[in-house]
């Protein structure tokens, strides 16, 4: 979440996308599906297109890679006008992810990922290395998954492969059309965290369509709120959309609990974590218990040799043990530094401890987050809200028509 970074035009011009007065008019329909939209997608940022169903957000997305040919207007990728270049060539330069990944069931995971590199004529060796690299990137063990068929994967795993496939030829742009719409909430949360982690590494320009406002707030550097006909109602940072909705339409769309949604804007790494007493398997439980008592804590965190949390026994559990066992406890509340406070709060509320263990990217333990810390963060972010300044906002308007819903950036 970077409200301070210099947007777009300056750095890595190559992947900025500009829709210039683009219209899509389907024959036989009186109203255009997309009405003269001018939209700048800054390079290396995640821009979320949200709006009610049928508002034209998916049409807008598909016009970027010209799966849908615009009726009017120009589309620029970097400095290049791509409105009239060969559509297939253009699409090979843009990753495309759809719901459930859209994997081809008759091809293995590796073959699915290799499709675009093959079309681009990469060597076998290079493709093989790239496939493994990408599987690692999306946290799937290459040796285990590369020769599997999609139906042997869970929904979340298929979605990961879908993302890997879209990234295969390292395109500057990633287009995602409600990719996480078909998975259960827990998997979705995990996939979202994963996407943010991947984005930290790859820094793509991502255009992401969703109808889920919470998802937009969580993932977006910028959010475009659409009303019917792809009219841009507001194009702003998640913070500002939550704090200063441009119209009652946006307010309705945000829905209840804007305050709680603020929690989605803050990450675990932004708050101060509590320290904890740690122990390792094989130690005498008594010794660990003594340390816990000395520190005045209620629990001890048991870590394996890579500092990954195994279990989180309470004083009482410790007192019943002889030595510390090496068995991992699947039920311990775990969040990562990249998790939102909202997800962290969810996790702690279901755990009995009223707190959660925080791990870093390599899944090693960094600290404990408690409900109190989250509460403090809410108070703080309220005070600090609405500090983003207008100057770096990308362009987003509709031209040529009356702006039914009022204000834009």
């Amino acid at each position: 979440m970077s409200k301070n970074s210099s947007t777009a035009t300056g750095t890595s011009v190559s992947s900025r996308i500009l829709l210039d007065a683009v219209t899509k008019h389907y024959p036989g329909q009186s109203k255009p599906a997309v009405d003269g939209i001018t939209l700048e997608i800054p390079a290396g940022k995640i821009v979320m297109l949200v709006g009610p169903s049928g508002c034209g957000k998916t049409t807008t997305l598909k016009m970027i890679n010209r799966l849908i040919e615009p009726t009017e207007g120009r589309i620029t990728l970097g400095d290049e006008d791509v409105t009239n270049i060969d559509g297939d060539q253009l699409r090979r330069r843009m990753g495309y992810v759809i719901q459930a990944g859209g994997l081809f069931p008759h091809m293995t995971v590796a073959a699915n990922i290799a499709i675009v590199p093959k079309m681009l004529g990469w060597s076998k060796e290079k493709i093989k290395n790239r496939v493994d690299e990408l599987l690692e990137l999306v946290s799937l063990e290459p040796a285990m998954y590369r020769d599997r068929y999609p139906r042997e994967l869970s929904g979340g795993q298929q979605q990961r492969v879908g993302v890997a496939r879209a990234l295969a030829a390292d395109p500057p742009v990633l287009l995602m059309d409600e990719p996480f719409g078909a998975v259960d909430p827990i998997t979705r949360q995990r996939l979202q965290d994963e996407l943010l982690r991947i984005q930290e590494e790859v820094q793509k320009t991502i255009v992401f369509v969703t109808h889920d406002f919470d998802e937009a707030v969580k993932l977006g550097d910028w959010i475009v709120v659409f009303s019917e006909g792809a009219h841009i109602v507001q194009y702003d940072t998640p913070e500002r959309i939550l704090n200063e909705p441009a119209s009652s339409f946006v307010e309705d769309f945000i829905g209840a609990g804007a305050g709680l949604k603020q929690l989605t804007l803050n990450r675990v790494r932004d708050v101060e974590l509590a320290e904890a007493v740690t122990g390792s398997p094989g130690e005498m439980a008594q010794d660990v218990l003594a340390r816990v008592k000395e520190a005045g804590d209620g629990h001890a965190v048991i870590l394996d040799e890579n500092r990954r949390p195994l279990s989180w026994p309470s004083r009482r559990q410790l007192s019943r043990l002889e030595t510390i066992p090496a068995t991992p406890d699947a039920a311990i509340p775990l969040v990562t530094q990249g998790s939102t406070l909202s997800d962290a709060l969810d996790t702690m509320l279901v755990s009995s401890a009223g707190a959660a263990l925080v791990t870093d990217r390599r899944r090693s333990f960094v600290g404990v987050i408690t409900v109190e810390v989250v509460m403090e963060a809410i108070t703080r972010s309220r005070k600090a809200s609405a500090m983003a300044n207008d100057n770096d906002s990308p362009v987003g308007t509709n031209t040529g028509t009356i702006e039914v819903q009022g204000g834009t950036t």
Partner: protein, 253 residues
Amino acid sequence: MSDVLRPQAAVGTAAWKGLVIQPAVIVLILAAFVIWLKLGNLSATERATLNPGDLLAYTGQHLALTFVSSAIVLAGAIPLGVLLTRRPFVKVSGVILALANFGQAAPAIGLVVLLAFWLGFSFWSAVVALVVYAALPVLRNTMVGIQGVDERLVESARGMGMSSFSVLMRVELPLAVPVMLSGIRTALVLIVGSATLATFIGAGGLGLLITTGVNLFLPRVLVSGALLVALLALLIDWLGRVVEHYARPKGLR
């Protein structure tokens, strides 16, 4: 979810049993028939009609009819079926399907004889009749198979920059293969059975035994003809199943 079951193993064994039993049964019946031919209590006329040389010749004619017609059906109906699923031609697909339906709904014997009046009493009229008769299952299953491919897969393929031809070759056709093959098998079995009728227009085949059996009241000859046609049909059906088993893309259930 790393330990997802691989159900194809179980399905595979069941399918395999079927694939082994069918030819075994065919061979057994054929052996019994040969033994009966050698040792059975046949009249002189029957023995003359059922002599091995003639039987082989009839079977050869029957197979020739079958393979030529099948080849034409496959070469014509598959590309046509593919074409009819392409955007510019979708509109005419209804008309073509109705025509193919008509071909199949018309009584085969009527078709054979009518065509013979028009094209002459020959091998090739019989082939034309068989082609018209058996085109529908192949045509329809090709179309249904391709139309049955999840539209999102096609979109996702286009979205990756595959040309529409390469989407057809690498996504749509491979995924349609199981449905197409079952249509092809149906057509082949239809052709083997219907090739019996070629005898009425002098195109030979195992049907000759049946008509001889009827005309001269030789029930044993009649039954022999029917039995051989049935065995041939079962054999073709088995070949079709074997191909289906191996051509089905891995990764599909």
